[in-house]
């Protein structure tokens, strides 16, 4: 029974952590983009403009929720949630600290769900998220949105393949698909972490994750300059706000997965630094990746559709296969 209460408490904490962090990231990205552009970014609401997101939230909630006449209404309404709820579910398998940790005298695992198919859950939920985009574009009954949805469908399916394959290397090394065990495998200082043997896998995963997140240079489904807003063309007010918000939730999840699989999860870079709680290390690594995502986004142009496809199928996919083969060979020979 206590375990069940703990489970609910843990889930609530992780959920609110995700939501809060996403809200901060919306402000953070604008601020960081402003800095990179020699601007100041938002600076009026609160100190350094930290309350900007809440101001935006108030504005979005007050706006009229326009649902065009020709849209497929149930699908149109459901699509925003389909985009971020599956992604947020993935947070359940991320370990935030050691198993059997002692908190105020109670013993518990610092993970919501410790089960063996963690990576599979992540991949499955990633595949579900594409429905949100495709539904949004299709139900809008608008040609711009349709093009965005089509691009998104093709792009996500192509890059999911390389993404999944790049993770198989990690699975082979750790001999498990359980994220807790993968983190255990990486115990020790940072040269035990997976990103050293799996550097190619990590690079592929990082590129594919940008594509999954629909961020520049792979933000074709949104493509502000071509499709205006792509699949969310017809959305207004808070529904649009949920799309915006889900982008950041997805980003948090993706960086958490990346930190867990390739960078030792909650573990400190050196054994002696483990006095700092593990979840702080995890958050620090996540923030590192998030800043990297933002940095890339505001520095590079966007690929064209056919270039994106050829990059995914002709370069990343064979590379991921080769990486898998080499890893399997090395592990077998050892």
């Amino acid at each position: 029974m206590t375990q069940f209460i703990f489970l609910i408490i843990k889930a609530a904490i992780v959920f609110f952590f995700c939501v809060g962090l996403a809200a901060m990231l919306i402000w953070g990205e604008r601020k960081y983009a402003g800095w990179m552009q020699s601007r100041l970014g938002p600076n009026y609401a609160g100190p350094m403009g930290v309350l900007q997101t809440f101001g935006d939230l108030a504005k979005l909630l007050r706006k009229e929720d326009v649902i065009p006449d020709t849209v497929d209404k149930p699908v149109f309404r459901a699509a925003p949630y389909l985009l971020w709820v599956p992604a947020a579910l993935t947070m359940a398998v991320i370990p935030f600290g050691g198993m059997d940790a002692k908190i105020f005298g109670w013993r518990t695992d610092l993970v919501i769900a410790n089960f063996d198919a963690g990576i599979v859950l992540f991949l499955a939920m990633g595949s579900l998220a594409v429905y949100g985009v495709v539904f949004a574009g299709w139900s809008s009954n608008s040609r711009w949105a349709l093009i965005g949805a089509l691009r998104s469908g093709a792009q996500m399916i192509s890059y999911e393949l390389s993404m999944g394959l790049s993770l198989v290397g990690v699975m082979i090394l750790a001999g498990s698909m359980n994220l807790v065990q993968i983190v255990d495998y990486q115990s020790g200082a940072f040269w035990h972490w997976n990103f050293i043997p799996q550097l190619v896998g990590f690079v592929i995963f990082f590129i594919a994750s940008i594509a999954e997140l629909n961020r520049t240079p792979f933000d074709l489904p949104e493509a502000e300059q071509e499709l205006v807003a792509g699949y969310m063309n017809e959305y207004t007010g808070m529904r649009w706000g949920i799309f915006m918000f889900s982008e950041y939730v997805n980003m948090i999840v993706m960086s958490a997965i990346m930190a867990t699989l390739f960078f030792g999860g909650w573990r400190a870079p050196f054994e002696s630094w483990n006095v700092i709680p593990g979840f702080l290390w995890l958050i620090a690594k996540m923030m590192g990746f998030i800043i990297l995502y933002m940095w890339v986004r505001w520095s590079v142009p966007r690929y064209r559709y056919n270039q994106l496809m050829s990059l995914g199928w002709k370069i990343l996919f064979p590379l991921a296969l080769a990486n898998l083969a080499v890893t399997a060979l090395v592990v077998t020979v050892k």
């Binding site: 800095w35 990179m36 520095s299």
Partner: protein, 154 residues
């Protein structure tokens, strides 16, 4: 394509190079002027809203109501009403500038034979009320405090 090119491609050399530039900007000093807090100071030739200058000694308006500015104005935003005083001089009764038509070309200042109408440094002209855009003679005389310094002495 030599070996160096391949290495550069595989290590994302040029993308990292580009990111170093944006990263440098993120850390360096910002270019923004935070407008309502700090104001930019216009150069002496800046063409802000007009003002009517008066003689610094007698306090009389320089304007002779010769209608030159009214005639040259390309957007016809100046309206002058004048009457004749008993001693045969023209006197200015009403001088109105419709700011919503004005294009700030500075022709009125340029053709004025008496340095009576000048463009000032006053650029804060936004308003919620359209009626504020009709600049009356009194407004224009009061606006002379914004006139560029080198013009005031003339």
């Amino acid at each position: 394509m030599g070996l160096i090119d391949i290495i550069k491609k595989a290590t994302f050399f040029e993308i990292l190079q580009g990111m170093s530039v944006t990263g440098k900007y993120a850390a360096s000093k910002k270019f923004t002027i935070e407008y309502p807090k700090e104001k930019s100071i216009p150069y002496p030739r800046f063409r802000g809203s007009q003002a009517l200058l008066a003689d610094p000694v007698t306090g009389e308006l320089n304007c002779d109501a010769c209608h030159l500015c009214e005639t040259i104005c390309p957007s016809q935003c100046i309206t002058i009403e004048s009457s004749e005083t008993p001693d045969g001089k023209k006197s200015l009764d009403e001088f109105t500038i419709d700011l919503s038509r004005c294009v700030f070309c500075g022709f009125c200042e340029e053709v004025c034979p008496r340095a009576a109408i000048v463009m000032t440094a006053n650029y804060e002209l936004a308003s919620y009320d359209k009626r504020d855009f009709i600049l009356t003679k009194e407004w224009l005389i009061a606006n002379a405090v914004h006139a560029h310094k080198e013009l005031k002495g003339r």
